[in-house]
Structure formats: C-alpha cells, structure tokens
C-alpha cells in the first residue's frame, strides 16, 4: 500500500515536471488523476491461453501448482508489452472459492476449468455450506500467488477480484436454477393475496432465493476478509457480479433483488471494494454515475458488454458518447478488443480500429485504456503485442 502511494506520488511528479518517460504502472496511476502522456494498455494475464506462451503449461498443471502460475506469469510479463499486466493465475472460475464449498469443476489440460455440478440442489443444502474460518484449496492458492507476485514485483498491480453474492450463488446453485429461484421469489413477494402465495408454493419454494443470497452475502464478505487476513490489500479490489446484468436480468430486478445484498458486502468491507456493475450502453453508464454506490465501481466505463458487430467490434456509435461521459466524470474509457476480433482481423483491420479509437480519445482529451478481452487459440502473443504497439503509435495526447 505504502509502495503504491509512493509510486503514485513519483509518477505524478515525473509527469508534471516532464522528468522522463513514464513506466507502464506510472502511466496507469497518472491516468487516474489527470490526462497521461498517451493511452494506456492493460492485459489480464489469465486471458492468454497458456499454450500460446508455452505448451508445457496446461490447466491440469496450473490448477495444482502455485509455482507453475508464477512461472507462466513471469513469461507473460516478459513477452507482453502492455503497460500493466495483472491477474497472475489460470484457474478459471475456481479462483473465486466455490470449489471449496462444493461446486465440482472439471479440469482438463486444454480447457479452462469449468463447473459440472453444483452443491445446492434443495433448500436443506444451503445450511451445509459453512462460512470459512480460513482460506483453503484454490482460494488459498490465489492468495498465495497474489502475495508472491506482490513480493517479487513491488510495482505490479495486484487486484483482489472476487465474486459478489449473485455470481457466487450462480456457481453454487447453477445458472438455470438461480434465475428460476429469483422468479418464484419475485412472484411470491409481489402476489396480491395469500391464496396466490399458497398457490405459488405448490410450484416452487420462494424461500430458496433469499436463503442462498444470505449465504453468499456472508461468503463474499468473508472471502474478501480472508484476502486481507492473508496480507493482501483491498485497494483496487473488485466485487464482481457480472451475471447480474442484461440479458440475465433487468436493471430494475438488479436493484430490487441483488443490489441490497451487494451493498451489505460493500459496507461490511468498509466500502473499500469497487462494486462494479457492467452496463450494455452509455445511457446506463450515465445511470450508474447517478447511483451513490455504483458510481464508485469499476466496469462502468468499459465497452465489454456493449453490442458488437458480427465481426466482434463494439458498435462504433457507442464510442463517442462513452468518451464524452468519461471526460465528464473524470474517468478512463476502457476499450476492450474482443478476442474473436483479435483472432480474425488482419493487421490492417486492427490498425484501423486502434487508430480510430485513439484519434477519438485525443480529440476529446480523455484517458483511454486499451485492453484485450482474451488472447484465444488462433490468435498469438505477437498479434496482442501488435495492438499494444498501435496504441503507442497512435495514442499520444
């Protein structure tokens, strides 16, 4: 924490007094306060398929070995030329802790681990899941990796990114059952009379949804606390409920049935975690900024879930309003290059895309952060670096 504050101070001084070129992390920090020297670049290391770095790193090995994750992260740092490279583990959704509560993941060499069975089949199963006293299993592994990264690379961005109540519930209950639980609960609580409520009970159990969310609220809070207890800082951490957005649920349902639980986690953690909420349009970005809690969250100024063209580019009409909103609220616009476009596009097509978004950001005079959502099979490290080089070429303010 002290390191980060010091780095930030030095970065601002260096930028203001023009004392040389900013490092990647310095640029990242400067952009949080003022317009940096150029658009930044960011990559979550976990978004690179391990085999593209070295085929010896497969998901079976990575799910067992802290050292393998650290070695692979070091290789990614060496080979990827982004300002900031973060998220140094390759565990898929096992990283958020539900494997320790009974979610069964299948781990195969060439596929990111994926859930195949969920522990909550009926209401009685909820009470069987206990809030952990200490981090174990994959959760401990994630904390250990983060701590070692922090020790080895003091200027690295170590973010504690963990699931919020809804996403944990999806992984403990299943993505078919939980939305159904929500619907039954919603219908029950909105029923006009007791006869209707009695009737609803014959078709489903309205008690399941609040009971699961109560559990996952406690779990989510505790997981962040365990991260802190293991020595990690919550500075820059994110509370993620990416499945609580459209088209999974309406904004109204989010506020009525998910947000109150997230609010409890946020408050229990001293309002230190970033309660991000992804949005599919600039209009909802503006709405988020009117909300006292969501306005403090990450993910609001990102094109990640904006509608795309069939080729995989964010619809071009969304960028200008987003850049202007970013300027209005003194934020950076995180422009994600989607993995499928990185894979399918030619270099000249990538050139056109990066040049365009950089030009627009320069015209608006707002910080732009270009990231790559995934580097999938069929793409390459070289192609990812090509995008980052284009940002260096076109993104100078």
């Amino acid at each position: 924490m002290a390191n980060m504050v010091l780095t930030m101070g030095k970065a601002l001084l260096k930028h203001t007094l023009h004392l040389g070129t900013l490092t990647g992390m310095e640029r990242f920090m400067v952009s949080a306060v003022t317009l940096a020297d150029r658009a930044g670049t960011f990559l979550a290391a976990t978004n690179i398929e391990p085999e593209l770095i070295d085929p010896k790193y497969d998901y079976v090995l990575l799910s067992k070995s802290v050292d393998a994750n650290l070695e692979l992260f070091e290789l990614v740092r060496q080979r990827i030329h982004a300002d900031v490279v973060a998220v140094p583990y390759w565990l898929g959704l096992m990283c958020v802790g539900t494997a320790e509560f009974g979610t069964v993941f299948k781990v195969e060499k060439r596929r990111v681990p994926y859930p195949i069975d969920y522990p909550i089949k009926k209401q009685e199963d909820i009470a069987k899941i206990k809030v952990p006293q200490q981090a174990t299993g994959y959760l401990k592994m994630v904390f250990d990796i983060n701590k070692e990264v922090q020790r080895r690379y003091p200027d690295a961005l170590v973010m504690v990114t963990m699931d919020g109540p809804w996403d944990l519930a999806m992984l403990l209950r299943g993505d078919r059952e939980l939305p159904t639980d929500l619907r039954i609960y919603k219908d029950y609580t909105q029923a006009k009379d007791q006869a209707t409520r009695d009737r609803i009970r014959r078709f489903g159990n309205p008690d399941v949804y609040p009971a699961i969310m109560e559990l996952t609220t406690q779990l989510s809070t505790r997981i962040f606390q365990l991260a802190q207890e293991s020595g990690l800082s919550l500075l820059g951490s994110a509370l993620v409920d990416q499945y609580a957005a459209k088209p999974i649920m309406s904004r109204e349902d989010y506020f009525a049935y998910v947000h109150p639980y997230r609010l409890r986690v946020w408050e229990a953690l001293g309002k230190k975690v970033s309660p991000g909420y992804q949005v599919p349009s600039p209009q909802e970005t503006e709405q988020n900024m009117q909300d006292p809690v969501l306005s403090k969250g990450s993910g609001t100024f990102s094109n990640y879930i904006f509608p795309q063209t069939p080729e995989g580019i964010t619809l071009p009409e969304y960028d200008q309003p987003m850049l202007e909103l970013a300027k209005k609220y003194k934020q950076s616009y995180m422009y994600m290059v989607h993995g499928k476009y990185l894979r399918d596009a030619t270099e000249s097509q990538l050139d056109v895309m990066v040049q365009r978004i950089c030009r627009m950001a320069k015209e608006v005079r707002v910080n732009l952060m270009v990231s790559i959502a995934s580097v999938p099979p069929g793409a390459s490290v070289e192609k990812a670096n090509y995008v980052f080089e284009l940002v260096e070429k076109y993104g100078r303010y």
Partner: protein, 206 residues
C-alpha cells in the same frame, strides 16, 4: 383468441395456467385454437425479450407456463393440430457448460413454432452426430462461450461430413467467441450474433 391465457403465458403465470386451460376446455374452446393461444403468449414474451423489456427469468417463466398449459392441453390435441415449422437440435459443445445463450435461442425458436430438441451442455461430437441421426432435424445449432471450447464446433461439422449427414442438416453456430469469419472458416451455414437473431436465421435456411 383467449387473451387471458396468452397473457398468462407471456407473463409467466405458471401458477394459474393449468386451471385456465382446464376451464377453457370445459367451456368448449377448441384445443387447436388454445394451442395457438399458448404459442401467441410465448411469441409475445420473445418479442419483449427482443425489445429489451424481458430478460432471462421472464423467459424461463413463460417457458414453464407454456409447458404447464401444454400438460393439460396435449391429450386433447390431435396429430394434425401440432404443425411444427421445423426441427432444430441445440447443444453447447464439449467442455462448455454455459447454457444461458442456448436456452435463450431455444426459447426464441420454440416461441416461433419450431420444434426444439435441447441436447444440453458439454455435448460431445459423437452426441451431436447421434442426435442428428435420432431426431433428423433440419437444423443443428451449436453454442460455445469459451474460445477454447468453440473449436469443438469444427469437429462436429467434420464428423457430420464423415458420417454422410452434413448434406441433410444445416449448421448454425453462436456464442460469445464465435464470429462470422469463424463460421465461414469451419463450414457452418450461418452464425448468429445474438439469441434474438435465431428465428430469422433459421427461417432463412429452410
């Protein structure tokens, strides 16, 4: 049309639909017309999803209400009453358990009158091929959310060719990492950018 029943399906009123269909049958309403009514409710829900007014819980509710209504109505229907616009086999490819997108597509197709055979998630190449043999659909739809699992789509198409089944079925693909170019590269017939496109896509292929 019995608008109350259509509205009950549209709004996912699972809890009253059985009684409503029973009452309509008792009152002498035509089973075929009641089927059209249930379908109209599904379609209205699908239309609202397309317009961004409804989301996953609403679609699940309408699907459940439709099934509940059908459980009462089905014994009263004759063979000619149920005219399908075509049969579609849907599945998520091997190694991928994401089924939200597939379910949305299934809902949209069902609501437009297609017969949907959902063969689930984490479906192996062999299971896709077997489903094509068993159900003889006009269209097979594959979904994937991961860049690694989508590679299984090509395996399915190759195996359909190898087994001499490719010419009998159109192949559509969809999901986050899938693109138009990828569809062309692997020899799929079409690619859907989102669930709302599914109906027009399938119609265009038949």
């Amino acid at each position: 049309m019995n608008t109350a029943i259509a509205e009950a399906v549209e709004k996912g009123n699972l809890y009253e639909i059985e009684d409503m269909v029973r009452a309509a049958l008792t009152a002498g309403e035509n089973p075929k017309e009641l089927l059209d009514t249930l379908m109209a409710g599904l379609k209205a829900c699908g239309d609202r999803f397309e317009r961004g007014e409804f989301f996953l819980p609403e679609l699940l509710g309408a699907g459940d209400a439709f099934k509940a209504g059908m459980s009462i109505l089905a014994p009263k229907l004759s063979t000619g009453d149920r005219v399908s616009k075509g049969k579609v086999v849907l599945g998520t490819v091997h190694g991928d358990v994401h089924d939200i997108g597939k379910n949305l597509v299934g809902f949209m197709l069902s609501s437009a009158g297609f017969t949907v055979v959902d063969i689930g998630t984490d479906v192996s190449t062999e299971m896709f091929v077997q489903a094509v043999r068993d159900h003889q659909p006009q269209v097979v739809g594959m979904s994937a959310l991961l860049t690694t699992t989508m590679l299984g789509m090509e395996d399915v198409i190759k195996e359909l060719k190898k087994q001499g089944l490719r010419d009998r079925v159109k192949v559509i693909i969809g999901g986050g990492p899938v693109s138009k170019k990828y569809a062309e590269d692997i020899g799929a017939d079409a690619y859907g950018n989102d669930a709302a496109q599914a109906v027009s896509l399938v119609r265009s292929l038949l």
